[in-house]
Symmetry: C2
Subunit: 431 residues, 2 copies
Amino acid sequence: MTRTPIRDLPQHAGETVTVSGWLYNRRSKGKIHFLQVRDGSGIVQAVMGQLDVSPEVFERSGALPYETSLSVTGAVRADARAPGGVELLVKDVAVHHEPPQEYPISKQEHGPDFLLSNRHLWLRSRKPHATLRVRDAAITAVRRFFDERGFVCLDAPIFTPSACEGTTNLFKVQYFDEECYLTQSGQLYMEAGAMAFGKVYCFGPTFRAERSKTRRHLTEFWMLEPEVAYATLEDIMDLAEELIVAVVKHVLEHRRPELQVLERDLSKLERIERPFPRIRYAEAVALLREKGLPFEEGNDLGAPDETALSGHFDRPVLVHRYPAAVKAFYMKRDPADERYALCVDVLAPERVGEIIGGGQREDDLAALERRIAEHGLPREPFEWYLDLRRYGTVPHAGFGLGLERTVAWLCGTEHVRECIPFPRMLYRIYP
Amino acid sequence: MTRTPIRDLPQHAGETVTVSGWLYNRRSKGKIHFLQVRDGSGIVQAVMGQLDVSPEVFERSGALPYETSLSVTGAVRADARAPGGVELLVKDVAVHHEPPQEYPISKQEHGPDFLLSNRHLWLRSRKPHATLRVRDAAITAVRRFFDERGFVCLDAPIFTPSACEGTTNLFKVQYFDEECYLTQSGQLYMEAGAMAFGKVYCFGPTFRAERSKTRRHLTEFWMLEPEVAYATLEDIMDLAEELIVAVVKHVLEHRRPELQVLERDLSKLERIERPFPRIRYAEAVALLREKGLPFEEGNDLGAPDETALSGHFDRPVLVHRYPAAVKAFYMKRDPADERYALCVDVLAPERVGEIIGGGQREDDLAALERRIAEHGLPREPFEWYLDLRRYGTVPHAGFGLGLERTVAWLCGTEHVRECIPFPRMLYRIYP
């Protein structure tokens, strides 16, 4: 038996095909049953008249529980009013498995804890399904963007001996007779890669053991980290802009029905065009004060500050040159004013906040050694990293993009936990 | 200053361009210096005559240490004898950084421990560089293959509460006030995904805490895991074949120069065409006995058995229907003979051994409950997995492909540690 994906049905109008999937919804009106069947690629309405099938099949079909697995054979009829533009006129139904108990997720509202505990089933519902198809498209867009530009995908290790920015937020692992940590960033490894391959990126899971329970935190999330040799802060700001525009365009082109399921205001994505506003930290501070926020100059921006700033613009805003004192040891100082770092954060609009952080890296051996000491970091785990400044050091820059925060923005979703298939949070590692 | 990637030089024959990179090698002959410059995209020979540059530049260039970072401006000359088909006639050289100490990796042989400890620099050498570019192309090929076929990329979680096949080979993590494990397979999650999306795959790092130190083991490696609803063992064997052929073709098309650097016998890859031989476990046993191996029927195949079998064929061989007793609890039994499982291993040729393992999953609730009990596994962590059989269960199948073993085969590399950017092994987590 050949199965036809529901997504492809419009190409088969007039033909008789078989669709295999699950019963998503059902209603009856007089002598007709309307069965909504989903197969993962889409949903189609199968129309079954009493005289189309045997009396037994008709009677059973009117009582099938949700998530019954079944194959429906029928004629594809074009119908402009139907979602997807087609419906199926049923000729036969074969039931594979009829759930003996009621499906736990009803069409009514459920609390988030219940839904997250049933994530393995909740994935079948329309909104999670749409959100994760957007995530899939964003991944494809990112990879194509870098492939087309000659970047090499160079996966960073997950087990890391050194703690890039302190050990407080790291997960510790017993590694045979030693201890090590789960990576919170592949950046240092990408710097080694950039010196070998010119342009590299990694795209994998990263880990933060933060005891925070906010809408923007996961303990495990996917991060994209490109790094480019012979690149400056300006170069990397251009790259970040181009990437964001490419991802938005790809998702609009390939996931419009999904964004509609999510009731996303598409006009907000359609206006995402270069150039994005670029403001210095000092300008961001002035803007926050104008808005009446009690912001103290010299501090890093907190989540409420980012939210306020990101609500001010209709496209992503690049905030650059933060005070060096609040940023990581590896950031290069601005030669025009050493109090500031050559760094940039990209804040997505609509109060989403930071989706990208990056900048130019310190490429001078003596300066980097000084910073490691000033930050009270142990020297020995960074010896290999210092080697990159000993042997043909060059200006280089890169950034990290948080995938789930980006997907939350694309989908207009409040909480990042809905933007990853199986979210891991402070009190959640099941299922 | 616009920089031209070395890979693009053939398109600029006759023009004057600037290349930025590192000094890879150097020799002098009378009044000419030959500088081999690499930029990550390729290597070009820059020819510097004494009269082409100032006397200071000429003298300094004849003594530059390896891995000096520099920009070379010159005219691109087509030369069929040159690697890449072009060379650069130097007009000027700007040195960015001259290493004050000798580059630790010389052109002579080094031991593997030394090279692995200097992996951050060793990546710049020709063979690791070529190997990891092949890995990059294999990743691209895999993702395109599944994207084109309508699969959804659904990343499996790394933190897992349950231990799929026992806890002995798992890394344990302190997860706030609980304990959890690092995933050794995303399969169970992909099964949930297949019921929601029809066709899914995950492609991420997986972990095995094995105290083995062989050429085929890493503690951290990347695994690709597709899973398909309404699919049988036969379907998934077809999918595995198609995938392998697609990856080999893509790599041959896009990484031929790299395979040549690795001195790969290309004819062995060029003959990889469908169909692959498919043999039952019993036939594999007979073949091993013919070869004089002391194999006991009923056992799983060990590494030496796989090596012997994989040396027997000139293309990958699919060995299917192993004894159920030596396979995991979730494998569906063959209805034709319940002693065997509907499973398949794909062994790459040239004595590489297993690169894929998979099969059809048990889709019957009662049978699966029985297997969990028989394997002495705790029931509770698998409740969500059992739900997949409670609500619209369907036949489904999938497999896992080990990326680094596949790359080892493509490259003709003996050891998988060379097929991942920063290998993690029993005694190695640095750099």
